[in-house]
């Protein structure tokens, strides 16, 4: 049996239940009550800042001038990267999803996607110690770029799995509003399919990835290339893919 509000106290309990998939049954996602933005947006900011903290270590260990300012800037920019990308991509997803007949409301869709970002950043933050550990022993900028791409890639894949699993559960449990029982869980019998546009979410994931990569490129520097003085943003040139290619070249 599921409840609209988490029984555990506080934001930590809410995060724990989200990670364990206890807040994202079909009914819970549809009502959206278990995924309040006032709890999970601060979590996205805190977890993003936490990964950003480890990311900024490279500038600290490199003895860069203004290294502390760089760390603080990265701690701000990392949550901004994820939430900013959501801001850019969410309107088109919601409109197209509604056009294709999904009954998922505006707030419910937004809350689900914020929850997905929280999962993404929670995994990234949990991998932060690995990043910090390698930062202590690595001077190669190229290696640090690739390690960050790999760790954020893993976190991204996990969150995609979370989103697809949630949407799949939603697809098999979509009763009409007047038929909806007061409480439902994923394991209920006689599931019915509904066109919630799972494939559209897959397209959105790709779009989010591309926009996110480019957003990251615009918001750089994150790691802080050696020998380059602190700057909040760099001049806009090139693209994310070109940057990864250059990092591989630089490492070799």
């Amino acid at each position: 049996m599921t409840t609209a509000h988490p029984p555990g106290r506080g934001a930590v309990a809410a995060l724990d239940r989200l990670l364990r998939g206890q807040l994202t049954s079909a009914f819970q996602v549809r009502t959206g009550e278990t995924l309040p933005l006032k709890v999970f947006v601060p979590w996205a900011i805190a977890l993003g800042a936490s990964y950003g903290f480890f990311m900024g270590w490279y500038a600290l260990t490199g003895g860069k001038d203004d290294a502390l300012r760089h760390v603080v800037a990265v701690m701000v920019k990392l949550p901004l990267l994820f939430l900013g990308t959501l801001l850019v991509t969410f309107p088109s997803l919601y409109v197209f999803n509604a056009m294709l007949g999904s009954r998922l409301g505006f707030r419910a869709t937004l809350r689900l996607l914020v929850a997905t970002i929280v999962v993404n950043l929670a995994i990234a933050a949990s991998l932060g110690p690995i990043l910090g550990f390698f930062t202590l022993s690595t001077s190669s900028y190229g290696f640090m770029v690739l390690l960050n791409v790999a760790l954020l890639g893993v976190a991204g894949l996990v969150s995609i799995g979370f989103l697809i699993k949630t949407l799949a559960a939603l697809q098999f449990q979509s009763p009409e509003p007047d038929e909806m029982p007061p409480l439902m869980s994923v394991g209920d019998e006689h599931p019915r399919r509904e066109g919630t546009g799972l494939w559209l979410f897959v397209v959105w994931i790709f779009t989010y990835g591309i926009v996110g990569a480019q957003m990251g490129w615009i918001l750089r520097p994150f790691i802080g290339a050696p020998g380059v003085p602190f700057e909040l943003f760099r001049l806009r040139d090139g693209s994310f893919l070109q940057g990864v290619y250059n990092a591989v070249q630089h490492m070799l």
């Binding site: 724990d16 990670l19 364990r20 998939g21 999962v119 929670a122 995994i123 933050a125 949990s126 991998l127 932060g128 110690p129 690995i130 550990f133 390698f134 202590l136 022993s137 690595t138 001077s139 190669s140 290696f143 996990v158 799995g161 979370f162 490492m251 070799l252």
Partner: protein
């Protein structure tokens, strides 16, 4: 089940680690003590390549560094493991997962400790430094294989319960090896190089093992 550990428990514990026995499940405390006590044995052996003068210190340093290496690697990899375990909906199995990993680690410790006399024998037989490194590495690899086998025996039961355990295992293996190699590199030397004064860590700044390998392959290492 008692968490008391004494040397008289060792044979029982070895069998309990090696196979999942219904009547004897090793506790996490026992497995922890096992790793802390047994890995330094191999460290002592590894560092005893040359014990002339003050070079016996290498053996002491290596004995201290072995459990330290495992502890650091665990500490760095565990947060990600915990988060992934939660996201995959496997938190109810967390204790069993940790027990399986700890059993694997204890198996490595048992295997390494059992190989220590062979390594010392090889040293006494007059192998050169290059062969000492190769032998130590080969013994490490063999012990790791044994550890994987033991861990998989337990993990197989978890996979039967939920296939997602495969993903969790994959994370652990990749992260543990990736971080473990770097930890070992940072904590070197273990065998001790001829002509270099004994020290806990190399005098040079920390470097990245993977970058060094890439530089060796591309011939750009200075």
């Amino acid at each position: 089940m008692s968490t008391h550990f004494s040397i008289s428990h060792a044979p029982n514990l070895l069998h309990a680690v090696a196979r999942p026995l219904a009547e004897r499940r090793p506790t996490l405390n026992e497995l922890f003590v096992c790793v802390v006590l047994l890995t330094p044995v191999f460290g002592l052996a590894m560092g005893s390549f040359d014990v002339t003068g003050d070079r016996w210190l290498y053996a002491v340093f290596a004995a201290v560094k072995m459990p330290l290496m495992i502890a650091v690697t665990w500490a760095v990899c565990l947060p990600g493991f915990f988060a992934l375990c939660s996201v995959l909906g496997l938190r109810d199995d967390l204790r069993e997962c940790l027990r399986a990993i700890a059993c694997g680690q204890a198996a490595v410790a048992f295997a390494l400790a059992s190989l220590a006399p062979l390594l010392v024998f090889a040293y006494l037989s007059g192998v050169n430094h290059r062969w000492a490194l190769l032998l130590s590495g080969a013994m490490f690899a063999l012990a790791t294989l044994i550890g994987q086998l033991v861990m998989w025996r337990r993990w197989r039961q978890l996979v039967r319960r939920a296939g997602r355990h495969r993903l969790l295992l994959a994370y652990w293996l990749v992260a543990y090896v990736f971080v473990g190699i770097q930890t070992g590199w940072m904590l070197r030397p273990f065998v001790g190089s001829p002509g270099i004064e004994p020290s806990f860590l190399r005098a040079e700044p920390f470097s990245n093992a993977y970058v060094v390998v890439a530089e060796l392959i591309t011939g750009t290492r200075r």
